[in-house]
Assembly symmetry: C2
Homo-oligomer: 190 residues x 2
């Protein structure tokens, strides 16, 4: 569900020095000044890194008198690691992705503006996409004589024989004694 955060989490850890900070804080708390000396960076740079880490909840600061003692939030680290192991995490990342885009692109590539086929795809994968589009013109439960099938297919391409044969071959239409009908849906992708 809550996909946000995962990317920020990885970005926070995708830097050598920030990773070292995490490693250091795993052992004890450090001040900005100490981290700067140990990692040979300016305090302002350390501050910047700590701010990024704290933004995703991986570290927190605790004022100790004059100093800011930074400490690792191991709970958050474990939480994220466990999230990576969960089956639900990865699918959630693509919740808002346009999965139909490829099919649309293939259809667009092979279609003229008025919806006819420029050519019949040679690639099985793309042929399948085109055929599944065409087959939407057939209604379930109706038996179509071959002549009527050709009439429908002619809207897409002159070579109705090939289209007809492939529709049957791919299992989208069924045929018996010169009549055709829509096959039961099978989650077949190609």
């Amino acid at each position: 569900m809550d996909n946000s955060g995962l990317l920020d989490f990885f970005k926070a850890l995708a830097d050598a020095n920030r990773l070292k900070i995490i490693g250091l804080l795993a052992q004890e708390s450090f001040t900005v000044e100490q981290l700067a000396a140990v990692l040979k960076l300016r305090p302002s740079t350390i501050s910047h890194h700590l701010s990024r880490l704290s933004k995703v909840g991986l570290v927190s600061a605790r004022a100790e008198g004059y100093y800011n003692l930074y400490q690792l939030e191991t709970v958050m680290l474990e939480k994220m690691a466990r999230r990576l192991l969960s089956k639900k995490t990865l699918p959630a990342i693509v919740a808002d992705v346009d999965l139909e885009a490829y099919d649309r692109k293939v259809l667009a590539d092979f279609s003229t503006p008025d919806g006819r086929l420029k050519t019949i795809p040679a690639r099985r994968k793309k042929l399948m996409i085109v055929l599944r589009h065409i087959v939407k013109d057939f209604k379930p439960g109706i038996r179509y004589p071959e002549m009527q099938v050709n009439q429908i297919l002619a809207e897409y391409h002159q070579d109705t024989a090939t289209l007809r044969r492939e529709l049957v071959g791919f299992g989208l239409l069924e045929r018996e004694r010169g009549e055709y009908w829509l096959a039961e849906k099978v989650g077949n992708k190609g």
Copy 2:
């Protein structure tokens, strides 16, 4: 031990589109072309991302006829997630870090070139570092009369009284009947 890899792993996942690729491949295999359409990027860009992901072993390609079908290496993902949960991973990251740098910097900041103290640190944290440095001049098992203690401390700063008092206060020296000696080591840091 083998720290390398962790950083590359995070870097590989620290990009929105690569994360989406991982999310998509978690559900089924995809070709470069498909991913390009779905993510609205050029195939060359997808190729580049897949190359980075494959370099850290997160995805692999399998030639299916004409196409290159990319698939997620879930084993690697799980392996890395589990590594994050291991107690040994984080300390290993800082194996090659110069932990003494801070102490050295503090000593340098407060010392003149010939090793005397410019001032006695006001901050307890830094005073402790300086005192621990000075106390190295005392040998274990020997009882020093106060006059001798002052002699040693005078090498560092004229205010021997303060140094002496703080050494005792911080528990680095012990005192009884006008004699001083090195305290037993206690893993005290400040």
